[in-house]
């Protein structure tokens, strides 16, 4: 039985019992090193009661202040949220919301009055919030062409853009795809005590997107020329990298309820002030039961108003502290000496290993 690969003539030299060993013999003794003997210096931490309790208390001690700080930050954020999709349907169209929104001739203007609950320091961020809108739907997410957006020469690269790839005469649509096609087109005009409130719509998109993803030489073409208008139209004389609403919209949201930045109000708003918003309620969320909110919000170091993180930190910190106390009790009431050989199974049950 010759070993594989060890053909008849070449093999056989090893393992041979040479009856007369020559004086010089190649030893096969493995070389000693701490690595080969698996004796590298090592730290062998062991979870002793001390460590366990310390770790748990440490988590509690760190987490509870973080939780409190987060909650505090969240509480300080002033947020005005106004759902307007239902209220902005005139009473006569109550049962025909879809007809209303799809009819080009209806007046979509809608006036909302919002009261500032607390002093809102600038910058005040204006968001629109959509619910039940699956910007992360697979068909939707894929329906875009990043190449086309970036440079003019790739205008015709509309591979994934169907059904919004080509206009009727096989001309490529720029920007193509469902995402661009469904661009949000409600507009808001704010005024406080009849003084218009300026909304800064510059720099609402990511710099990286403006600079690298959307070309400065790409202009909208054939956009929204189809028979079904999905949303906003674009000024075809402005390059894409300056169409910030589009850029914001194209950063598809991760979750079905999301906000998108509309603009910034760069003045403080006093508490109790009433803001009048003139909304052009163009965007059709009625066919899939989506909701539209207008959101005015200040920010904190933690972002917007969300108590969840703070509460979660408090909860986890609290649980850890509780566990720490529980373990202290356990270790005090029912201690187990570490490394006590009497806990070894064969000492507990001498016959155990025989069966």
């Amino acid at each position: 039985m010759v070993e594989r690969g060890e053909t008849s003539s070449t093999g056989g030299s090893d393992g041979t019992q040479d009856p007369f060993p020559s004086a010089k013999k190649i030893t096969k003794r493995p070389k000693y090193s701490r690595f080969t003997q698996q004796e590298l210096p090592a730290c062998k931490p062991i979870l002793t009661p001390g460590w366990v309790i310390t770790a748990l208390i440490l988590v509690g001690v760190i987490f509870i202040p973080i939780g409190l700080a987060s909650l505090f930050a969240s509480q300080r954020v002033v947020e005005i949220v106004d759902r307007y999709d239902e209220d902005c349907i005139p009473p006569s169209f109550k049962d025909r919301a879809l007809g209303f929104i799809q009819d080009d001739n209806t007046d979509k203007t809608c006036i909302r009055k919002l009261t500032v609950p607390k002093l809102m320091k600038s910058p005040i961020y204006v968001y629109y919030q959509l619910s039940n809108f699956y910007q992360n739907h697979r068909r939707y997410v894929k329906s875009r062409s990043d190449k086309q957006l970036r440079s003019r020469k790739d205008e015709s690269k509309t591979t994934n853009c169907e059904p919004e790839a080509f206009a009727g005469d096989k001309q490529p649509i720029v920007p193509c795809g469902l995402i661009a096609w469904s661009l949000f087109n409600d507009t808001y005009k704010f005024s406080v005590t009849n003084q218009p409130l300026a909304v800064n719509k510059r720099n609402i998109a990511w710099d990286s997107d403006r600079e690298h993803k959307f070309g400065s030489d790409v202009y909208p073409k054939n956009f929204q020329n189809g028979r079904l208008i999905g949303g906003a139209k674009l000024n075809s004389s402005i390059p894409l990298n300056e169409q910030e609403d589009l850029i914001v919209w194209m950063r598809t949201a991760a979750l079905p309820t999301f906000r998108k930045l509309y603009g910034r109000i760069e003045v403080d708003l006093e508490a109790g002030k009433e803001i009048t918003v003139m909304i052009q309620n163009n965007y059709n969320t009625y066919d899939f039961g989506g909701k539209k909110h207008l959101v005015l919000s200040t920010t904190s170091w933690l972002g917007g108003k969300n108590d969840f993180l703070g509460a979660a930190y408090l909860a986890v910190g609290g649980i850890c502290l509780f566990l720490a106390v529980a373990f202290i009790l356990v270790y005090v009431l029912k201690p187990r000496p570490l490394g006590d050989p009497s806990y070894l199974s064969w000492n507990r049950n001498p016959l155990g290993h025989l069966n």
Binding site: V2, G5, T7, S9, T10, G12, T16, Q17, D18, F20, R29, P30, T36, Q37, Q38, L40, A42, K44, I46, Q135, N136, R139, Y140, P163, E164, A167, G168, S182, W206, S208, H212, K213, G226, R227, L228, A253, A254, P256, N284, L302, G303, N306, F308, L309, A312, Y313, V316, I319, K334, L338, G339, D340, P341, Y343, L344, S345, N347, P350, H353, L354
Partner: protein, 1226 residues
């Protein structure tokens, strides 16, 4: 060969060819030197060689062949040339009884069916290859050629199910409807794995190519055009005549035609084939001997069997000159053998190239699968069910959603089923294939997205980890054997972890527990016990020197002598005691098949006598005889020369009956110088006492019997020696019978046996010898450790019961506290009865002992345990019958099982018996060819690199130098391997499942459309780069306990036997943990970012990083030993993930450009990450602490003891350790 290892086994054979003959024993007699050996003898001239095959060979006693060729080949030796003409009658013949050999001959007489035969026309390759082209002699061990590499390698790789799975997924992903991932990303993992494997295969194959090329281009002398010419090996064809020179390697399997030896003998070394280093003899047929191809045209036809891989069998017949001769295995030399001590040999190529037996045997050992891996398959199936369930849920929900929204689908902005861009009124559906198909596609897409639920990378990681583990096993200096210069070898790469779960060890005795170095201990001569272990140690180190030709010859091995016996031996044969002693040692010196060789020493006037032979017992006896002044200094086929107390005497060897396992004895018939003829017999006591004349010297027989009992009860191997003087009429009678039997065509072996039995009777007892087979170093300690580790040690030996039991005692296998159940039955009924009795007894004992234990308490270290001793005869009735069940029942209650007189196949039968009835893992360890079947049968086979060739090693999965290395192998490496591998498998399940669940939760928030927030590259790299390295390094390097602790508490091995580290319970626990962790990873960011401006890629990056951090910290929490490598792997992986995510997000053409930088700037991201990690791991942490506190497992306690244990204990431990490490003397 049916009764296993006899005391004087001629040569180990592969057990699966029990019918094959032993290599002709004539060879052993006339065994020549190998290279540097210098034979003392010359071949005697006055012998007609009784050629095995020459059935009708007329045996001409007067034909006196010249021995010149012998001398020429022994040129330069100091051989004593002595030609003594026959003077004892006219018939001075050396007869060899070649039992089994001739049996084979009669078998080969059977007609070989023409359809099954290959016809070889001697010296006519064209005609031979005319009708049926035989394979050429070029060999290819390489698998691929340059062109076939790609397709064949791919084909072979795709034999693995895992790769098929990869492939199917990748293909699915190429369908446009299902393209979840980009093309590049989806093929990457498969391509990576294929590439790595292909490169590995290519390198290996390149090496083989080179070896093949060298091999194929070697040159051989081939008879062409009337003369021998050099020809490349690869061009040799079947039917050609080739000439082999001394020390050449055979290029093919060839039938011998003639050799330089006038008697047609050729000596070959078969070390490349079976690892046996002794020379074997092959014969040319008498009829072809004298033919010289240069002078006369040789022609003939060989009809031989189809190529097969049995290296000990060959059947053919040859038609030469109208005569039909039969050919056996002794007429063929196989490829790979080397011609030794024969100037040249001529032969006909019978098998060439890949049809040679060597090449047919080239297949590697059958691959075994580790039990952990087999068990793992169940969990893999469960995971597939998970996968199926997840996909079903997704497609079901998608179906519901589509149904509910089917009226709106046309215009929903994020769906837009209808294509409105065309001005035509009837709009096409766009990328919508109907409700049913959409669901189906959703299902398939779900499979693609969740594919890593089935951890394919696990298989690759496991292989890498095993390579690493094997490396450390091989490198372990504690498993290196100085004596044989053999380090540990891993021959099987996929059962490392089985070593940690062994419950049964089946061990061979000779050569495994013992050293197989026989040392003569004492003798009982004529009823007087000499020695009895009290031999003095004078003369130690130096054998009794003998002066020949002014040169001092000294036995190579010194034997301790008993002074009184030495005195007696020197006193000559005048006194009655002296005569018996004389006869006794004469028997020891002559009744064997050893050949003395002289070895040079540094002193030119001193030479060492080295007895070469196959039986170590015989060697020991011959050295002993030499020590007492009876030095065998020369053996030829016709006579021996023995130096008796300085006086050289010559005896004619008139006949020799080889040892065979039926008679269990051998005999030699010597013609004395004074013309008397005596037969000396030695053999096993059981067979000898039946042929000893009981009427003579009753008290001597009685005393000898007592001594024998005493010897064997201290573990010595005993042989009984007897002799008888033959009268001339008896001799004549024997001689004619012998001649007739040797010439018989049918049943020669039986006839010869009968002849032998006729002469081996009415013997006069001379005495008995006792040989010690020394226990190997550290065997008792090793067995003790194994026993403490709850490993049942079964010893399967060919030795007789007393010897086996005494070895059992000395190796601490048996203790005096043990209750022994001995089964020694000669019929099925009695066997059944003793088994039933045994079971009854065992149940009584166990209830008793448990009762006493309950009352006495835990001081039950000395629990009475049972030992079962059963012999081969009983096993015949047990194996393959309904009694197996009972034997197993009984044996499983016994702590020790000892099987004596077991045949090789029975060994395998016993292993199979246990294997069939239990899921516990078995390990077989042995060193000889007779252990091969057992080694292959057991779950783990361990070969000892010992004295008996390499077959056991070749068949084994692991090989090492000493039995005691089993302890570090199992208790240390096995334990580590098992713990590591078990943990790694569970961890791999977990880490992939966590990720899949995170993806799954997200699917629930995307209208069930399988959008992945995690970028496709990250999801492909997840199991390749982000999380794989730490688990591999931990799998190779982590140690739960130190070597020291594991050796101190062998009981810790129980963790593996109880499957503590891998079980269904653990699997489900870890799956529950998986779900919790995935929930924490997914939902914390979900709630934190609900109603925010977060984009898909940003959140996806958070999920990716969170998963990787959690999964790696989970591993970190379980790592026990933190070396710098572990640190580097774990923290490096997290770092690498970060870098990869950054790189992916820095590529402007990808979807999520710059997302990580945006989200990474926010505090929310980092706070999320922190709380995810803590929330995900706290439950596991707490569960671990609670478990460790309330029911600590042994490993945990031992680890604590290791760290905080009391120091006195530790010091004691260290001392023991040193003892274990130091070579121990018994």
């Amino acid at each position: 060969m049916s009764t296993g290892r006899p005391l004087l086994i001629p040569s180990p054979r592969t057990p699966n060819t029990p019918q094959t003959p032993s290599i002709p024993t004539y060879a052993d007699l006339a065994k020549r030197s190998s290279g540097d050996l210098k034979p003392v003898s010359t071949m005697e001239s006055n012998i007609a060689i009784d050629n095995t095959s020459s059935i009708e060979s007329n045996y001409n006693s007067s034909s006196r062949r010249s021995i010149s060729s012998h001398q020429s080949r022994m040129s330069g030796t100091n051989s004593v040339k002595e030609v003594i003409l026959a003077d004892l009658g006219s018939k001075r013949v050396r007869h060899g009884s070649r039992g089994t050999d001739s049996e084979f001959m009669s078998m080969s007489q059977k007609e070989i069916n023409d359809d099954d035969a290959r016809l070889v026309y001697i010296n006519d390759p064209d005609r031979t290859n005319e009708k049926h082209k035989f394979t050429g002699n070029s060999i290819r061990t390489s698998k691929y050629s340059f062109i076939t590499f790609l397709p064949r390698n791919l084909f072979e790789q795709f034999h693995r199910v895992a790769y098929i799975y990869f492939l199917v997924i990748a293909i699915l992903n190429q369908l446009p409807q299902l393209a979840v991932f980009g093309r590049g990303a989806s093929i990457m993992p498969l391509a990576f794995v294929l590439l790595v494997t292909a490169i590995k295969d290519a390198c290996e194959d390149w090496r083989r190519h080179r070896a093949d090329r060298i091999e194929n281009n070697r040159l051989a002398w081939v008879f062409m055009n009337g003369q021998f010419q050099r020809k490349k090996w690869k061009d040799i064809r079947v039917g050609e005549i080739i000439k082999i020179q001394a020390n050449d390697t055979l290029p093919c399997d060839m039938v011998l035609l003639s050799t330089s030896d006038p008697t047609g003998v050729a000596y070959v070394q078969t070390i490349n084939l079976d690892g046996e280093s002794n020379l074997k003899t092959r014969y040319a047929k008498q009829e072809t001997l004298s033919k010289v191809p240069e002078k006369e045209k040789i022609s003939g036809l060989i009809k031989c069997e189809k190529p097969n891989r049995n290296i000990y069998g060959f059947q053919a017949n040859m038609e030469v000159d109208g005569k039909r001769l039969s050919l056996g295995p002794s007429n063929i030399i196989l490829r790979g053998c080397e011609l030794k001590n024969t100037a040249w040999a001529l032969g006909v190529v019978a098998y060439a190239g890949r049809e040679t037996k060597a090449m047919l045997n080239n297949a590697g050992a059958p691959s075994k699968r580790s039990s952990l891996e087999t068990r793992m398959n169940l969990e893999i199936i469960i995971l597939s069910l998970f996968l199926f369930a997840l996909c079903t849920v997704v497609s079901f929900l998608a179906a519901v959603w589509l149904k509910r929204h089917k009226d709106e689908l046309n215009i929903i902005p994020f769906y837009r089923k209808k294509d409105y861009s065309e001005p035509t009124p009837d709009h096409d559906d766009y990328k919508y294939y109907g409700w049913g198909l959409e669901i189906f596609f959703t299902f398939l897409m779900a499979v693609i997205v969740f594919q890593i639920m089935i951890p394919i990378s696990l298989y690759i990681s496991m292989e890498l980890v095993r390579v690493g583990q094997s490396y450390f096993m091989i490198q372990d200096t504690n498993m290196y054997d100085e004596a044989t210069n053999s380090s540990f070898q891993c021959r099987a790469l996929n059962i490392n972890e089985d070593l940690g779960q062994i419950k049964y060890v089946f061990s061979d005795k000779t050569g495994t527990l013992t050293e197989n170095k026989m040392v003569f201990q004492c003798a009982s001569i004529w009823g007087v016990d000499y020695g009895g272990g009290k031999a003095s140690s004078q003369n130690d180190g130096v054998g009794n020197p003998v002066e020949v030709d002014r040169k001092i010859l000294r036995p190579k091995m010194a034997v301790k002598v008993h002074p009184q016996l030495l005195e007696l031996a020197k006193s000559g044969k005048d006194s009655p005691e002296g005569k018996h002693v004389h006869d006794f040692f004469l028997a020891l010196a002559s009744c064997n098949t050893l050949v003395p060789f002289l070895v040079d020493t540094s002193d030119p006037f001193v030479k060492l006598i080295d007895y070469q032979g196959e039986s170590p017992d015989e060697q020991a006896l011959a050295y002993a005889a030499a020590a007492y002044g009876f030095t065998l200094i020369e053996r030829t086929s016709g006579h021996i020369v023995i130096d008796i107390q300085g006086e050289r005497q010559r005896f004619d060897v008139l006949g020799l009956h080889e040892f065979d396992s039926d008679r269990k004895r051998m005999s030699v018939i010597l013609g004395f110088p004074d013309k008397t003829v005596k037969v000396f017999v030695k053999g096993a006591d059981s067979s000898m006492f039946s042929v000893i004349d009981r009427s003579l010297e009753k008290n001597v027989i009685h005393a000898t019997e007592q001594h024998l009992h005493a010897y064997s009860s201290v573990g010595l191997r005993t042989l009984v020696v007897g002799m008888r003087e033959l009268s001339s009429s008896e001799f004549e009678q024997w001689h004619s019978a012998f001649e007739a039997a040797s010439a018989a065509l049918m049943g020669r072996a039986a006839l010869l046996r009968k002849v032998a039995s006729n002469v081996e009777n009415h013997l006069c007892i001379l005495g008995a010898s006792a040989i010690e087979d020394k226990l190997q170093q550290g065997v008792p300690e090793a067995i003790e450790s194994l026993r403490m580790a709850a490993i049942k040690v079964w010893v399967l030996t060919g030795d007789k019961q007393e010897t086996a039991m005494s070895i059992g005692y000395s190796s601490k296998l048996l203790t005096s506290q043990m209750t022994q159940i001995i089964i020694n039955s000669s019929s099925k009924q009695s066997c059944k009865k003793s088994l039933e009795d045994g079971i009854l007894m065992s149940s009584r004992l166990t209830t008793q002992s448990s009762f006493t234990n309950n009352t006495v308490g835990s001081s039950g270290a000395a629990v009475t345990s049972l030992a079962l001793i059963i012999d081969g005869t009983s096993l015949v009735y047990v194996l393959d019958s309904e009694l197996e069940e009972q034997l197993f029942k009984l044996a499983s209650k016994c702590a020790v099982v000892l099987c004596c007189r077991v045949a090789p196949l029975q060994k395998a039968g016993i292993v199979a018996l246990v294997k069939k009835r239990t899921s516990d893992l078995t390990l077989a360890i042995g060193d000889g060819a007779n252990d091969v079947s057992m080694i292959q049968m057991a779950d783990v086979g361990v070969g000892i690199t010992g004295q008996e060739g390499r077959q056991a090693v070749m068949a084994s999965d692991f090989s090492m130098g000493q039995f005691r290395f089993l302890v570090p192998l199992l208790l240390v490496h096995g334990h580590w391997n098992y713990q590591r591998m078990a943990y790694m498998i569970l961890y791999n399940f977990y880490r992939n499942a966590v990720f899949v669940f995170v993806l799954f939760w997200y699917v629930l928030f995307t209208c069930f459309t399988l959008t992945t927030a995690v970028t496709e590259w990250s999801s492909m790299l997840y199991s390749v780069i982000y999380t794989s390295f730490p688990t591999i390094f931990v799998g190779v390097l982590d140690k739960d306990l130190s070597r020291r602790t594991l050796l101190k508490f062998p009981q810790l091995y129980g963790a593996g036997q109880r499957q503590e580290s891998y079980s269904s319970k653990l699997f489900w626990l870890i799956m529950m943990d998986t779900i919790w962790q995935s929930v924490a990873i997914f939902f914390i960011p979900l709630f934190a970012y609900w109603r925010s401006t977060i984009d898909i890629s940003g959140l996806g990056d958070l999920w990716t990083i969170a998963s990787v951090v959690v999964v790696n910290l989970h591993l970190a929490m379980d790592v026990i030993r933190w070396t710098w490598i572990t640190h580097a792997a774990i923290w490096g992986s997290i770092l690498a993930t970060g870098i990869c995510v950054i790189i992916i997000d820095a590529l402007p053409f990808l979807f999520g450009y710059w997302a990580i930088f945006h989200i990474g700037k926010t505090a929310e991201f980092w706070l999320c990450l922190l709380i995810i990690v803590v929330a995900a791991l706290v439950p596991r942490f707490v569960a671990k602490i609670i478990y460790q506190h309330f029911s600590p497992c042994d490993i945990r306690v031992a680890r604590e003891a290791e760290k905080f244990g009391n120091f006195r204990e530790l010091e004691r431990m260290e001392m023991e350790m040193n003892l274990m490490a130091e070579p121990q003397r018994r």
